[in-house]
Symmetry: C2
Subunit: 633 residues, 2 copies
């Protein structure tokens, strides 16, 4: 079933201004400052075994769970982000830090391969007793992803070897064999890492272990639910579980029977990512069908217009269909980062522009909003409306989002292309160079554009001699009236499921030009999204916009965009490093004329005002400010 393969980030060079600037910021500012925060908060220190850990300063919660259980994952994600970043520009100091961390991890690893800094130091007798809550497998997943990324970036395999020993231990511990535990992670993640390791090494044991975890999850066919078994073994009542039922970690049903997105959003997205991976690996139709049902459910009923998910803080996750509050939106950065992962896998499974559209939406909006322009401040939750009280954090007591967004930005090159036997699919634009395998040889693609500000894309091809293959260029769902040419000769643009497919004998020097007109557009929500009723959002190209108070003379919560007001785009090269803003005439109710009452029998009079909107991803980079995505219309 697998028709397309991802291209590792290390095989693609970002050259365009938009992502180059972000990559450089991550490399120069984010990675070093995150290292500093890891050290300040004791997370980095925690892998320097056998030195004792600092005392626990964060109190245990009522479920006897402390945030430190998942510190190893932060190390793994930092290494992954740093590895991706240095693949674009090697940095000896960062590489030395990674090596030092690997030294520590190697020293900490137990003779049997077990690796978890918290348990080794504090509760060695309790390892593997609480998969439901305590993140041992999740941590190993992130460390393994770090190891794979470091291997891609540098060719060095020492960390990968450490993690291979850890995975061998996991594979010996968990499974359906005699004496094995039939467990699986409480927080999915390791499944993704194992597939990555399989792709990087070709060692089938990684794939087999991922397959076991996904297949066994939620299984109660002839066995007791694993989380019940281990709760009872700990002397706990399984029914006393904090989140009431196993929907929280999507272990309430075998994965192939799941059709509704439920529970913790990041767990869900990681699991769906692995399901799509394994559907492709095994040609598993049931798994593919489950992925498709879940995809429809989240994108048709439970997704913010910014590509965020999971409105509720309570479970960091999903609630009900069409329940998408703006001012209390949780819409965790990690969840949208993970949506990029999932969408990329769906594209590999089935080249359909609907997947690329959501990949792009999540990437450029909810996910990218998570990282500040200065590269050192973060959004954990991404509200779509703020009265000015929401703001970026310099760090977070659970710093998962900080390194999730940095690893995404640092690895963005890995989402540009998909390759098949005789086809190259271009999913994203923005300036990139890559040499890709196709039709038995290699071709260098040099794509130039000022995307996402402008939809004019130029791709120069340099195949090894003339080669026959299909170049599949994504025509985004938001685009109307795309035009294209090859060597100056116009093509009919009739995309197949979102991709313009050009099959020909490609020769060195061929040039494809694609023009994707970007118009400012109004978006409306389904009539059952209560919070958006009577409201309108603005989009141009892949970017969703918002109104910040900085740019608007009237309070943004009072802005009303007349339904007949033209919305125009203007590139403001002096604003926030150069962004395209949207402008329109608008109205705003006048509270001064309203008087002191809270309610009245007449509306407040409105007066005309100007409305300026900026891309959502860049909001809150000029200090705290009121912000509004959905405007009254």
């Amino acid at each position: 079933m697998r028709t397309y393969a991802s291209v590792p980030f290390s095989d693609v060079t970002i050259t365009g201004p938009f992502w180059s600037e972000r990559l450089e910021t991550v490399l120069a500012r984010t990675i070093p400052s995150q290292l500093e925060k890891l050290e300040q908060s004791g997370i980095r220190g925690s892998i320097k075994l056998p030195k004792p850990l600092p005392p626990l300063t964060i109190p245990r919660q009522s479920n006897n769970f402390t945030v430190q259980y998942f510190w190893d994952s932060d190390i793994g994600k930092w290494i992954e982000a740093a590895a991706c970043a240095i693949s674009h520009r090697r940095d000896a100091a960062i590489e030395a830090e990674i090596e030092a961390m690997i030294d520590d991890l190697e020293a900490a690893q137990q003779p049997d391969g077990y690796l978890n800094c918290f348990y080794i130091e504090r509760e060695p007798e309790n390892r593997w007793t609480n998969l439901r809550d305590n993140h041992e497998l999740y941590n190993l997943g992130h460390l393994l992803e770090g190891a794979v990324a470091y291997y891609h970036a540098t060719g060095k395999d020492r960390f990968l070897s450490v993690m291979e020993r850890a995975m061998d231990h996991v594979a010996a511990t968990f499974g359906r064999g005699e004496g094995q535990k039939r467990g699986y992670p409480g927080h999915q993640e390791i499944e993704i890492a194992l597939v990555r390791a399989w792709h990087a090494t070709g060692k089938r044991k990684f794939l087999d272990l991922a397959t076991y975890f996904i297949d066994e999850r939620g299984n109660t066919d002839g066995v007791e639910h694993y989380f019940d078994i281990e709760a009872r073994a700990r002397g706990e009542d399984p029914k006393a579980y904090w989140f009431e039922n196993y929907e929280y970690g999507q272990a309430h049903l075998p994965v192939r029977e799941q059709t509704k997105v439920v529970g913790h959003a990041v767990r869900a997205m990681y699991m769906y990512t692995a399901m799509a991976d394994l559907a492709a690996e095994h040609g598993d139709d049931a798994l593919k069908a489950a992925c498709e049902a879940l995809w429809r459910d989240v994108t048709e009923k439970r997704m913010y217009v910014t590509g965020g998910f999971g409105p509720s803080e309570h479970n960091e996750g999903f609630t009900k269909d069409y329940d998408l509050p703006n001012d209390t939106a949780y819409a965790e950065t990690c969840a949208s980062v993970a949506m990029v992962f999932w969408a990329a896998r769906m594209l590999n499974l089935d080249l359909d522009g609907q997947y690329a559209d959501i990949l792009e939406l999540a990437l450029y909006n909810n996910a990218l909003a998570g990282l500040s322009r200065d590269g050192e401040h973060y959004f954990y939750d991404n509200k779509l409306e703020s009265d000015g009280s929401h703001h970026r954090w310099a760090w977070h007591e659970c710093p998962c989002c900080t390194m999730n967004v940095s690893r995404l930005v640092a690895s963005v090159a890995g989402y540009f292309y998909g390759v098949a036997e005789t086809e190259i699919a271009v999913h994203l634009y923005g300036g990139a160079t890559a040499t890709l395998p196709v039709a038995g040889g290699r071709v260098t693609l040099t794509e130039t554009s000022d995307y996402p500000w402008d939809g004019a894309v130029r791709i120069a091809l340099e195949p090894e001699g003339t080669r026959t293959f299909t170049l599949s260029l994504r025509v985004p769902g938001w685009c109307h009236g795309a035009t294209a040419s090859v060597n100056g000769e116009a093509l009919e643009v009739a995309p197949e499921r979102g991709y313009l497919k050009i099959t020909r004998d490609w020769a060195p020097g061929d040039v494809v030009e694609l023009n994707l007109p970007m118009q400012a557009e109004r978006l409306y929500a389904h009539p059952d999204v209560r919070q958006d009723a009577g409201r309108v959002a603005l989009r141009r190209g892949p970017l969703v916009y918002c109104c910040e108070q900085h740019d608007n003379p009237a309070p943004v919560n009072r802005l009303r965009l007349p339904s007949d007001a033209p919305v125009t785009a203007r590139h403001a090269s002096d604003l926030l490093g150069g962004i395209t803003v949207l402008e329109a005439r608008a109205e705003a109710e006048d509270a001064d004329a309203w008087g002191g009452n809270l309610y009245a029998t007449r509306r407040a009079p409105s007066s005309e005002t100007a409305l300026t909107a900026v891309p959502y991803y860049i909001w809150c980079n000029r200090g705290q400010t009121p912000m509004q995505v959905w405007l009254q219309e």
Copy 2:
């Protein structure tokens, strides 16, 4: 400063259909069923000392606080509600139950007067060590209110004597004298009860103790904050307080310095009630000014259109100006009940229709919604919008609201009139007979009307001979074009601050007729109430309306009321016991035509539909259903 006195509920007989039906329901259904629930949940059992309490089944919360600490208050409120109810129609069985409770309380009371069933039974050594959290004074307040009500209803003073001994103990324990604790309640309430006891008995010690509690509250002038002192004495860090600062209980500042409504809404409303009482008792201008500032703050910035307060579940209280979410509104029933108390005191302090308007609004809408038509189901929180998941409870683990709403309904007669030396003020209409003291004699007023369905009011006066006094008839703020006559002779209606003042020599047989036209009106919220932007609410007379799904063919969340659509009233005698509904033509977006997408570049098409709205107070009496107060316009 005090110009008006309340008239006890026991001096007024309700005769009109609206309140008679509610009173009868409370007497026949609510009071007995609440007693049953009190017994089932062990609350009634808990006062049967010295028999040991049943084991604690409700787990301690992380702040080491169990809900059972405030069970005595539920007994007090039940007695108060029952006493009010039997003053309208004596019921021997209910009276016997009250007497049995008084037997138990009398037996439980300690030789020094201390009375708290939880502490006496479980932690006698810890009494008076945690006023901040543990409700000893709050409980005593409710018991004292129960004792005063029972005295008014029956003339029996045994319970009042028990509570007087308890108050003597409190007065000996707390105060500024040598060896006394300078404490005050964590949950205000006893202050109201003490003023009621002072009015009922004329014993000044009750007034003095109330005055001390209000004056000492939040005092740090030369002393440490009392809640800090007692926290440290318990070996706790005062900074570890669950609610972070003392705004939660309005003990962050001396009360005269408070200008913003903050913290727990019920605590706040009870305190403001007592402040207004004491401002009147002492002619205390500073206290009156604080009441007025707090009144403006809540009514101009923090009140739902239904007369509810406190949007947040987190602190059961106030958040920010103009923050009034509809679907997550907490708007606790108790808070609106307490608003009726406060508004009544403000009216005594200063006869201004603005206070009566809010009294009426809170009473007929948010407060009355708390009790079902069958008298046995309750709303604790009062949302203004529901997707169908919100519903009434048969009981609540913290049953405070259940008996707060029943005691309000049972005592509603006490809010109809205010009396001064030569003036009778009529605040509410709806059919009532009362014999009131005025101008050195007594006058019997017989008011008949079908209020709140109809604004035609007739008042027959029977003074003891001819007497000169002012009859002040409230002309509600919502009313336009009121007319009036005395003995058929038309009067000019020029209300002074909301009251039409008719001064004359009144003779037996005089009849006043007042007509208060009730039109269906549209209400709009201040432009900074984000959640109501672009929306409209409907009101007729004192009643705010809502759309329930039962009466509307289109989903209520999709209803859009055109700004030019006439809204008409129709009395539906067969619906819910006879209510006036509002009807209009409306539009609704068609989701079927929208397709499966969550977002689109065009609005869904709308089609015409009919809209029917019912009074908010009566919603959710026909099963769970979607409901909407604020409609799209």
